[in-house]
């Protein structure tokens, strides 16, 4: 976190500590640069992307929070990057160029939450059928579905 701030203070919007876990809130336009820095910088080396998950804060704004769970295999350290997105344009840059594993993670988040990842090689539904309407994991989508 300190290293990221020292490298580019603008890329750290907020830092949240909860139960020993560090969350760094990154502005949307800085995500790709910050992620690349965290992954490649030899003293950080977060080479493993564990998970991408989205929180829907409906009806609050900014509505979506995309969480990137990073892991450094050689230093045994975890960090969470968080990007806040508005409900009207949930678009964020894809991180597949940094971590190829993000491919399916991002497809899942697109499918279930409707987050669009710019620059993703093949952004299509992964769990739901292609012709499905809506994004089931969103809070305004009823648990029993539309009938």
């Amino acid at each position: 976190m300190h290293q990221l701030r020292a490298w580019d203070a603008q890329s750290v919007a907020e830092v949240i500590e909860f139960r020993g876990e560090t969350t760094i809130v990154v502005p949307r336009e800085h995500l790709l640069r910050a992620a690349a820095f965290l992954a490649i910088d030899p003293s950080l080396h977060f080479s493993f992307l564990s998970d991408i998950s989205t929180l829907d804060r409906f009806p609050l704004e900014p509505r979506f929070e995309v969480n990137y769970h990073l892991l450094s295999l050689d230093r045994n350290e975890r960090v969470r990057l968080k990007v806040r997105l508005g409900g009207s344009d949930p678009i964020v840059h894809s991180v597949t160029s940094i971590w190829p594993t993000a491919n399916w993670h991002e497809r899942e988040n697109f499918d279930l939450m409707g987050i669009r990842f710019e620059g993703h090689p093949e952004l299509s539904r992964i769990l739901m059928p292609d012709d499905w309407e809506g994004h089931p994991q969103r809070k305004d989508y009823p648990v029993e579905g539309y009938r």
């Binding site: 876990e21 564990s50 929180l55 769970h69 969470r80 594993t101 279930l112 539904r125």
Partner: protein, 399 residues
């Protein structure tokens, strides 16, 4: 999930073959769209979603305790690992400390789960590649472990035995003797499987040099568990981020450097032996008596006697089972080493009695992503070996 089966490369001499979702070697409802040039796989595209049941969505509409039962159904070959990971995540939000006795019992049972899951894997992988008899033997031993689960929790598979704050009930008397009996017989049985497979020329021909993934690729693709260790990365969450007192147990991370199907087979067989070691240590460590639940009124349900005898017990019992409990708002990510790799639960609380969001980092889902890398450029028969070696459980892939 996508319905189209067009050629991806568009080359004139290729054809598309649809494998699954109803195919015995896909271990469930996995579908792989293969583009073939003769017998060579040019492109493989896994198509998933046939078993999507919306478990994560469902968990949001249940209380924290009710949502626990959903976790059994995610990875039905290792239900206790899922129970454990979810419990640890919620306990992390709550800041609960679990009694040592419960922690050791959790370790013992999750290691038995790992053994059972790896036994299923050895058996089904062998039957996929034509070695029928191993399957029958491994399921015989797995059944013994299932009987232990039934003896302890009352259920063979969907145990829900670990609860938030501890474990559900006091294990029956003499259960450790039964565990010891099963564990003592296991090493001999594993020698039998190895006799049948490890030096078997057909087995070697089907697995050696097949489905190679380098350490760099495995990390980049997010592969974890035996997929990662088979490529020479000595990474195990039980060592890297010890949970549930794993730091008090003596075991080694099993690795192989070849990165092929055979290396992953060796890793998994060696892991069964390591798990036996951990179970033995746990049997010694578990105290005969002691609390199995954390002291947390309002979160951990009181015992039957307490509920009947004291007014506080009655009130807490009523409140827990009608409205549940409300952890403080916040988000945690808890990862454990499941038989398949890094199993993670991201749990977000908004301060109400229902989880605001539960996201499962399913190891099978991510490991399956490596499938095209494993089998492209190889024969179609190797696809079966490659699917088997990723050790997927479709319930977990699709959730």
């Amino acid at each position: 999930m996508t319905a189209t089966i067009e050629t991806v490369t568009g080359a004139a001499n290729t054809m598309v073959l649809n494998m699954g979702p109803q195919h015995p070697s896909t271990h469930g409802v996995l579908r792989v769209v293969l583009e073939l040039n003769g017998e060579i796989v040019v492109k493989a595209r896994p198509v998933i979603g046939y078993l999507h049941t919306g478990i994560e969505k469902n968990m949001e509409s249940k209380t924290y305790s009710q949502a626990l039962t959903m976790t059994d159904r995610i990875d039905y070959l290792a239900p206790l690992s899922n129970n454990l990971c979810y419990c640890l995540a919620v306990e992390k939000i709550l800041g609960l400390e679990i009694p040592k006795r419960a922690q050791y019992i959790r370790v013992l049972l999750t290691e038995l789960t790992r053994i059972a899951s790896h036994l299923v894997w050895v058996g089904t992988h062998a039957i996929d590649l034509g070695a029928m008899s191993v399957f029958l033997y491994t399921f015989r031993e797995r059944e013994e472990i299932m009987k232990i689960f039934e003896y302890v929790s009352g259920q063979r598979m969907m145990t829900s035995y670990f609860r938030i704050g501890g474990i559900a009930l006091e294990p029956p008397p003499n259960w450790l003797d039964r565990v010891r009996r099963v564990i003592d017989a296991l090493p001999g049985h594993i020698d039998e499987y190895e006799d049948l497979l490890t030096n078997n020329r057909i087995w070697l021909g089907r697995t050696k040099g097949v489905g190679i993934i380098s350490a760099e690729d495995a990390i980049a693709m997010g592969a974890s568990g035996p997929m990662l260790r088979g490529s020479g990365v000595a990474y195990d969450i039980r060592k890297a981020f010890p949970y549930s007192s794993y730091d008090e147990f003596d075991f080694k991370i099993q690795t192989q450097t070849a990165g092929d199907c055979f290396a992953r087979y060796q890793v998994r067989v060696a892991e069964i032996r390591e798990s036996i070691k951990i179970v033995r240590q746990a049997i010694e460590k578990i105290p005969a008596e002691g609390p199995i639940k954390a002291v947390a009124p309002g979160i951990v349900a009181p015992s039957r006697e307490e509920m009947k005898a004291s007014i506080e017990g009655l009130i807490y019992h009523f409140k827990i089972f009608t409205e549940g409990f409300a952890p403080p708002p916040g988000e945690v990510y808890q990862a454990i080493e499941s038989p398949r790799g890094e199993l993670g639960f991201f749990v977000a609380s908004d301060g109400s009695s229902h989880p605001y969001r539960v996201k499962v980092r399913a190891p099978s889902f991510i490991n399956l992503q490596t499938l095209p890398k494993l089998c492209e450029g190889r024969l179609i028969a190797d696809v079966v070996a490659c699917i088997g070696t990723t050790d997927i459980v479709l319930g977990e892939v699709d959730r």
